[in-house]
């Protein structure tokens, strides 16, 4: 068991090293010369050269690679060109909005998705089951940002029940949540559709299994049967939940743009537009690290919840 966990941790570390090296390569492949961009339009060649030296861009790629890694390991992500302050500070300012939105959306998706999926799986062929299937098919085909437009048109413009765009960073908690309702619903619907599909399929599979028939035929009360079924169906859902949760950190980009929310997504888009590559790199490193971390955690939880996986 310990050996398995160690080998898994090693594999995560290798993936991280490969991925972060890829990020380094990707950032060097971006169009434009960082020193020239930082200098602006009115700089002379000599000034750009000085900047290049200051940024370490005149060093060999190998040296730059070393500097990059020592920064990543120490959590030093460099300085933002546009905002002229450490990238870590920029991220710290913008992360809370995205985290609030992502967790709000995830909880909604979880409630709707698992709720519908389990109810539908419990009564296959029922009107509720058909409605759920319809919901999941449409939910998966909805363009996220367009669904956001519709919500704005209906609930913000027509009924005036919610704010159209924006987010009061300094406002009180209730007001801020109010601004997050429509964006969170927009994000939650397609994810709920995914979860409902998988939950329904997992439940149907377990309800049709031999052990369920045995449990029923020997007269176990429905509650006990449910417990056995849940114990078998649930661990299989964890990887999808992790993918959705981990993906939300950057999955919010489009919705932040639609609703004008000053989170990590808008920061990333702004940085791409302004060629502020240290920030692009910082957001990428943060997003990838969290994504890999959450997925690994889900693997561990799945192993903890499903003893069969421990003997592979």
């Amino acid at each position: 068991m310990l050996r398995f966990l160690l080998s898994q941790a090693l594999s995560v570390v290798i993936t991280m090293v490969v991925v972060l090296s890829l990020v380094f390569v990707a950032m060097r492949a971006l169009p434009g010369d960082a020193a020239a961009i930082l200098g602006g339009l009115d700089t002379t060649e000599a000034q750009v050269d000085a900047l290049r030296r200051q940024l370490g861009l005149d060093q060999s790629v190998a040296v730059q690679f070393g500097v990059y890694w020592s920064g990543v390991v120490r959590g030093d992500l460099g300085r933002s060109i546009r905002e002229r302050r450490p990238v870590a500070e920029v991220l710290r300012d913008r992360l809370p909005v995205t985290l609030a939105l992502a967790s709000f959306a995830f909880v909604l998706a979880l409630a709707i998705g698992l709720g519908l999926g389990l109810l539908a799986g419990r009564h296959p062929g029922s009107p509720l089951d058909n409605a759920t299937l319809g919901f999941t098919t449409i939910g998966l085909a909805l363009p996220e940002f367009w669904f956001g437009f519709l919500l704005i048109l209906i609930f913000a413009v027509q009924f005036g029940a919610f704010p159209v765009i924006g987010y009061p960073v300094a406002g009180d908690v209730g007001v801020r949540l109010w601004h997050l309702v429509l964006p969170a619903v927009t994000l939650a619907i397609p994810r709920a559709a995914q979860m409902a599909r998988l939950a329904r399929a997992r439940l149907l599979e377990e309800l049709g299994a031999d052990y369920t028939r045995t449990a029923r035929s020997k007269g176990l009360p429905a509650r006990r049967v449910t417990r056995h079924v849940a114990a078998n169906a649930f661990p299989g859902l964890l990887p999808l939940l992790a993918l959705e949760l981990g993906g939300l950190l950057t999955g919010t980009i489009v919705v932040e743009q639609v609703f004008g929310l000053p989170g990590l997504g808008l920061t990333l888009l702004g940085a791409i537009g302004a060629r502020d590559y240290p920030v692009v790199q910082g957001v990428t490193i943060l997003a990838v690290t969290i994504y890999i971390g959450v997925n690994w955690l889900a693997d561990l939880l799945q192993i903890a919840a499903d003893p069969r996986l421990r003997y592979e």
């Binding site: 290798i14 993936t15 991280m16 490969v18 991925v19 890829l22 990707a26 492949a29 971006l30 169009p31 098919t137 449409i138 998966l140 085909a141 909805l142 363009p143 996220e144 940002f145 367009w146 437009f149 519709l150 704005i152 048109l153 413009v157 981990g246 993906g247 950190l249 950057t250 999955g251 980009i253 489009v254 743009q257 639609v258 990333l268 888009l269 791409i272 692009v280 990428t284 997003a287 990838v288 994504y291 890999i292």
Partner: protein, 264 residues
């Protein structure tokens, strides 16, 4: 069964609208007409006109061509990339397998949309760049599928028999193993194309995919965002078409998946 029919019907309608549709609407999707800005929907302009006085229906139909071509091309690219690497990994094993698997694992370690975004940023905006970015980002799924399918097919007796008869490795892979899972790949590809339609629209909506003035469903909607309250139909119409296209592909994918399952 009904889902397949519905999917085919919708898909035919959408392909028709993208191929012959633009010729049926007598308006230029790109040239502005400043005397007709923000015209409300009318029999002549069924979805009204936009901020530059262009017919929104004409732009949606022309945009469909671009969006469908990008999503279709990217899907083909993703499947081909996955097929070649997956067959190589499963067929050659050893170092090739390890390196390819690690490389695709690294791609999978990026949240999907972030990966597409980074690739498009590196490649720059444009139709071909978007196809390439989507194709690369979509390929790990097909690599994994093809590798797993091929490995399990290679365990079968008919492969052993083929080997005994002196069939070459490529022949076994392409002529014998591949036909057994090509249907499953096609089912998955329909679903991937639906996703790509939505992702391309998101990219163009963010201004990173197809550059203006070339219309695509995404940037027609990006335009519509700026006058959303003034001209809601300009946003609702193209979005509905985009959603129906994605829906059609999803129906096809689900429908054929069920058929494949029943046969097994």
């Amino acid at each position: 069964m009904t889902r397949v029919r519905l999917g085919v019907l919708l898909a035919v309608l959408i392909v028709l609208s993208a191929t012959i549709g633009p010729t049926l609407v007598p308006f230029d999707p790109i040239r502005p007409n400043y005397t007709l800005r923000y015209a409300p929907p009318s029999p002549e302009h069924m979805l009204g006109t936009d901020n530059l006085g262009r017919d929104v229906l004409a732009r949606s139909l022309a945009g469909g061509r671009v969006s469908l071509a990008i999503a279709g091309g990217a899907t083909v690219l993703a499947v081909l990339l996955g097929l070649l690497t997956g067959l190589s990994a499963a067929g050659l094993r050893g170092a090739v397998d390890v390196v390819l698997t690690r490389a695709f694992d690294a791609l999978l370690a990026f949240p999907g949309f972030l990966l597409v975004l980074l690739l498009v940023t590196i490649l720059g905006g444009g139709v071909w760049q978007t196809v390439l970015a989507l194709g690369v980002a979509g390929s790990p799924l097909y690599f994994r599928l093809v590798r797993a399918f091929t490995r399990s097919e290679l365990q079968r007796d008919y492969v052993l028999a083929g080997e005994a008869l002196g069939a070459s490795r490529p022949r076994l892979l392409f002529r014998h193993a591949l036909p057994n899972f090509v249907g499953a790949l096609a089912v998955q590809a329909a679903s991937t194309m639906a996703t790509f339609l939505l992702v391309e629209a998101s990219l163009s909506f963010l201004g990173l995919g197809v550059p203006l003035p070339t219309p695509s469903w995404g940037n027609v909607l990006q335009d519509a965002r700026s006058f959303l309250t003034r001209q809601p139909w300009a946003a609702v119409g193209p979005g509905l078409v985009l959603a129906s296209a994605a829906l059609a592909l999803q129906f096809l994918s689900d429908g054929f998946r069920d058929r494949l399952d029943h046969r097994v």
